[in-house]
Symmetry: C2
């Protein structure tokens, strides 16, 4: 297969590195350059490292930019600015702000006559697709999303900001009893506390007040207070040995009764040893879809819900019908 | 919501009846008529029953025809004939013949300037979507499909054709050990016998030779011979009490390693108390997509792989982004 889709990466954190690794497995795609706000010479990428200031010089050499920055500060700024010049794919995941971000990206992409696919990944992303398809084919039921077992970056950061904490991670764990209740088709109403619990592993400074740290974690509003939270204090070696991976996953479950009161259940599950690498790989597949949208003459912003499954594949429609239908 | 999508049903077997029931749960859709080859007066439908001979009189009253016939003889004949006049949705599931059927439907639909979505249901259908998406976002892995626990209509029919058999059903059951092997990411090569077993419940005539019947079942080529098959002889009351439902389900599992040898697993599961009612409900949702394709100015045949998830929903794109992304 010829490598006919030329990809640029913006940013070289977890997602950028994941995209670099993922591109090896996509036979029709080629990484051209990584654009960075840092000194390009400091980047250890196998792709050409280029200062973000010079990105417009690459307009003719790149088909799709994969925006690898975070949703808090990078994407709200970079997204609408870069979408004025390039087709883009990003993993914008600030759920509440997606309608606003979509509008901005849509305006930029239409100016550029390019395509921007936003909020790509697994949630938002594959989970959204499952929620949309399942509520459509099984109307009158209930959809539940559970996350975990997985490491939550935001909650781990919150722990690490506490005085006396040297290192810490937080795992979100779905509560098995509630999962089973949902799967049984009972359609339970579940409170926040009933859906997930939070388990923390913390390394403290030698003199730290562990009682106080534990209390500070457990009473932290929004992050931990609404949940059953467990805090384990561990030493640094254990931390390095057991808590360096970034696993995640989750469940989308829909149950409904159809016709003559027959119970129907559909469930989508993910179990990921590397959250970032999975998100990165999904981003690369959607870059392919962006190219197909351009070939269709489309311009503007789109979400994963607008993308036909076939557009993610390197196979032709004939192949897909023959092999996968 | 106004009922602005007008549906015609062709055929009134399990799927036709399922579509009739399902339509109640789709607030934007209305059943106009059931078209039948039987005497319309014999049909016990709440929709108007009309002889199939008069279907062309309804061209202006129907937006999408849902073809509820079987893949063996009904659809190969009715599909291409009706697609010359109506937009259609069908559940054509003869896997090997899908490319040919697609071509015929595409030709007809283009003559009519209408839209035909073929092979809608769960396999082909939702399972195909999962296979396509998952192999695209997790390249370099392996996809497995298991079916069951579920009642197989074709295999049950095969049992009932044996001399001395009064009633019989066959359940396809995925072999748990193989499922676990797949989930572990081992990428096993599984033979037919290793993936599924077949369990039969049979009611015989009083004088029947049970030994012979059991042997006839177990050695039946293609249907049973390649599998571990168990035959249970039961009496008629037990049969009526325990084996009147048509449950089914199954699993699509993809495992792959990404980037730095991290294991990733995605799985889609169905557990259905009524196979026919679920398929019917999916058909109705795809009728909605056919209408949207028409609004886009499209014509021709499409499969589920061509349909953006948003097209299945009664919600607007704005609502979907806000609620489901």
């Amino acid at each position: 297969m010829t490598k006919n889709i030329r990809i640029g990466l913006v940013g070289y954190g977890n997602i950028g590195k994941g995209v670099e690794l993922a591109l090896d497995k996509f036979p029709d795609m080629e990484g051209i350059a990584v654009f960075t706000r840092r000194n390009p010479e400091e980047l250890d990428s196998k792709f050409k490292a280029v200062s973000l200031d010079h990105i417009l010089d690459y307009k003719d050499q790149i088909d799709v930019l994969i925006l690898c920055g975070g949703s808090a500060t990078d994407l709200p700024e970079q997204g609408p600015a870069l979408a004025k010049h390039f087709s883009t794919v990003d993993s914008y995941d600030n759920h509440n702000n997606i309608p606003h971000y979509f509008k901005e990206m849509n305006t930029s992409a239409k100016i550029a006559n390019q395509v921007s696919i936003i909020s790509v990944g697994w949630d938002p992303g594959l989970f959204s697709i499952n929620r949309a398809i399942l509520e459509s084919v099984l109307p009158g039921g209930e959809t539940y999303t559970f996350w975990g077992k997985g490491l939550s970056q935001g909650h781990s950061d919150a722990i690490r900001r506490i005085d006396g904490v040297k290192a810490g991670v937080q795992y979100t764990i779905p509560i098995e009893k509630s999962l089973e209740q949902v799967r049984s088709g009972e359609n339970p109403e579940l409170s926040t506390r009933e859906k997930h619990e939070r388990v923390c592993y913390v390394v403290t400074e030698e003199q730290a007040d562990k009682k106080l740290i534990e209390k500070t974690i457990k009473t932290m509003p929004d992050y931990f207070e609404p949940y059953e939270t467990t805090v384990h204090f561990i030493n640094e070696e254990t931390f390095k040995k057991d808590h360096k991976k970034m696993p995640h996953g989750g469940f989308v479950i829909r149950t409904a009764t159809s016709g003559n009161e027959n119970k129907q259940k559909a469930e989508f599950q993910l179990e990921l040893e590397s959250n970032a690498e999975f998100t990165s790989s999904i981003l690369v597949a959607y870059a392919r879809a962006a190219v197909k949208f351009k070939q269709d003459g489309k311009a503007g912003a789109f979400s994963v819900l607008d993308v036909p499954p076939a557009y993610l594949s390197a196979k032709t429609s004939e192949q897909l019908r023959k092999e996968l239908l």
